[in-house]
Amino acid sequence: MMQNSTNSVKKLVMSSLTAGAICATSAFASPVITAYKVDGDIKNIGVESSFWRKAKETEIIAYPQTTIHLNDKKANELNDGNKAKKIKVKALTDGQNIAFKMEWADKTESIQSGNAIKNTEFADGFAVQFAAKYDDPLKLPYIGMGSEGRPVMVYLQKAVAKLFEPNGNGDVAKQVNRANSPYFQKDLERFDIDVAHLARKSYQKGFVAEGFGSMTEIKDKSSEFLMDMKYKKKIFGASGWEGSVVRPLNDNYVKIYNDPIPVAFAVWDGDKMHRDGLKHLSTWIIVEFDGVQSDDKLKKEFDKPLDNADLKNGAELTKMHCASCHNYGNVNDAASAYMAPNLSNIGGYSTTPYLIESILEPHNVIVPGYNPNAHSNFAWYYGDKESGKTSAMPAFDYLSEQEVLDIVGYLKTLKAEVE
């Protein structure tokens, strides 16, 4: 049974993609970023490096995450009706490392200061996500921080001015409040300086993740990377951030050869209380290497448009088969908003193969969803790692190929307007 349905997914994806390719108007649905090859070492570059001048800029779109509803009332009010954001991306490689630079508009520079009396500051930030395995373009990790068995590597930088380690790096004496220290005057000033030295000045972290909530920081230095972010105030045009990340082509987590790779991007707006899932994220975007001619499956088969899908029929089928659990756009027919992922922006951040797989083999692409205690009546899966997880969503493998294509074609249209 499983074998059969796997074959049917492959068959369906292949046939849909072929059909799309035949169509005269066919073009790649998503843009392709080209990594420009430079002579010289890019290991230590930041956003202001002159290397970036030569790289070609590609515009990508990041959509507001609306899959799950988070529980901060004020933040939810601020983010109601968010539009999609444009991000300009450049990529470089020197044969050893790969670097990305992102540029996005943000009217306000929000920095989390680390001031002891500011507990409601949220930082602007950005992240770049790599798929640990991408050999099979039809089975990429779930865009929202991967899924079980399909890990991702995420590099995250936040505009945080100053941070201390909870255990003070072992220096307990410097963790006491200055008023509780045994010092006065000159000694107290020296104490303040010593404490300031213990702070980390930048929030740059590398994580591995297999789905929401599983993100684990890599602290053993087994992955080296460098990030940078700077706010550019402009009198003409939109002010905004520039951010960059450099990592080796190969490490324990992701191996990059000269073939195209999938990469995803996300940005956070501190002014709108963004953090965690409150963010804008892109779908998987293909990055190819400048001047490398390869017959790559990923580039050839990844996310081509579904020109032969009947969107009107897709809308009706979606309403018939999906809307009793999934809410999307103005369709709020589900018995509870927490029953299943909200599909309002699914077309913005999901790939076609992912949507097809989700419909035909939901057990393969289980999204952990909410903390299981938060909405205990609506678990998105049953069982656990040992016994094997079963998605709460049944497989819709009885639909015809054309019906699935129509649904997926319609789902791809579900996304916010671009700002």
Binding site: N71, N167, D276, N371, N373
Partner: protein, 361 residues
């Protein structure tokens, strides 16, 4: 749900609002950088705004269907109050004593104000509050990073500071607003039920220091513990705002003893009680009526016969009976002492090493 559950009972008839518990906790845990504004234990006046301001109106907890409710994150400047200090050094130079920030709000800004008309029917009482170490914690449920966990061994709710990324959804999710954000660490911190003390057989500092001896500590399933007897046998100890759906594990003996009210002429109204029962029902649910009845009848029984086990319990004769930590329970279980570690993430799946708390070098 944890294997066992530690619980605390506080007798509100005996709380005098001296804040010794607050200070015991403050000096033990929250005198460090970034924790200045935090009171893991506070004592507030009821009726009053509480700490943080109007915490009961800030959402969180669960509805009847069991769905987590949206909540609001209070602000230090407006809702908790910015802690201030004085320029003691400058006094030596003959200067005036001035605060370093203009005090505009703080915990207990409205202490002892209460409600009603003096002297006819004014009233107030104190509520000491710590983290309720709920059976179904709102903070745990709202964490998208699985950073908050409930220890299986005793049900204490802890934050894994390695996993915490400072998103602050836990604060919105807690209906008691007893989780705090440390801006200097960018992590959440909260009452830990003094677990390093508990594991050594000592009660939490707030309970040990309480001069009114109002706090009982023990395991709910230990039938010999006074906590069990007050909660399950006599049913006189009730959880605070149980309607928020988190099944809290701190219980309160409702305040039953208040002077009678006066009429317009200043005469005592016989049989009246200044504390309105509706207010107690709001805090402790309708079960409070049964609890009050039991307390009153046991008190009467004691007066008549000189005997009442419940009154003996509430007199709190000795610490050794009030704090029953089931001697050697932790030693038998062989816990990971002083290591606040969530076993689910003890080793990193993809990394060789995840940093953990160490004693330093």
């Amino acid at each position: 749900m944890s294997k066992r559950q530690l619980a605390m009972v506080m007798d509100l008839n005996k709380c005098i609002g001296c804040q010794t518990c607050t200070v015991a906790c403050k000096t033990q845990w929250t005198n460090r950088n970034g924790r200045e504004y935090m009171y893991w234990n506070n004592v507030e006046t009821y009726p009053g705004t509480g700490y943080p301001k109007n915490w009961m109106e800030l959402g969180g907890g669960f509805d009847a269907a069991g769905d987590l409710q949206d909540g609001i994150i209070p602000n230090i400047e407006a809702d908790y109050g910015v802690p201030w200090d004085y320029n003691f050094d400058a006094l030596a130079d003959g200067k005036q004593l001035t605060p370093n920030v203009e005090p505009t709000w703080g915990p207990n800004w409205d202490e002892d104000e209460g409600a009603g008309d003096f002297p006819n029917d004014n009233y107030f009482f104190y509520i000491p509050r710590i983290c309720n170490h709920c059976t179904n914690p709102g903070c745990l449920s709202s964490c998208p990073r699985d950073a908050i966990f409930k220890r299986d061994i005793d049900g204490v709710v802890l934050v894994d500071l390695d996993r915490c990324q400072g998103y602050r959804y836990c604060i919105a999710g807690c209906p008691y607003k007893k989780v705090y954000f440390n801006p200097k660490l960018s992590k959440t911190e909260k009452c830990i039920f003094c677990f390093p003390r508990i594991e050594q057989g000592l009660p939490p500092a707030c309970a040990q220091q309480c001069v009114g001896r109002i706090r009982f500590v023990g395991f709910l399933d230990d039938v010999n513990s006074q906590v069990h007897q007050l909660v399950h046998k006599y049913k006189v100890a009730l959880p605070l705002r149980a309607d928020r759906g988190t099944s809290p594990n701190v219980y309160y003996i409702p305040p039953t003893e208040a002077p009678p009210k006066f009429d317009a002429e200043g005469n005592v109204i016989e049989g009246s009680n200044r504390i309105p029962t509706e207010e107690l029902e709001k805090l402790f649910g309708s079960e409070v009526n049964g609890a009050i009845k039991t307390l009153k009848s046991e008190m009467a029984k004691r007066k008549e016969t000189g005997k009442s086990e419940l009154m003996d319990l509430l007199i709190a004769y000795s610490h050794s009976e009030m704090f029953r930590l089931d001697n050697n329970y932790y030693k038998k279980e062989g816990t990971n002492k002083l290591a606040p570690v969530d076993n689910r993430y003890l080793s990193g799946k993809h990394t060789q090493r995840i940093s953990r708390f160490s004693r330093g070098n």
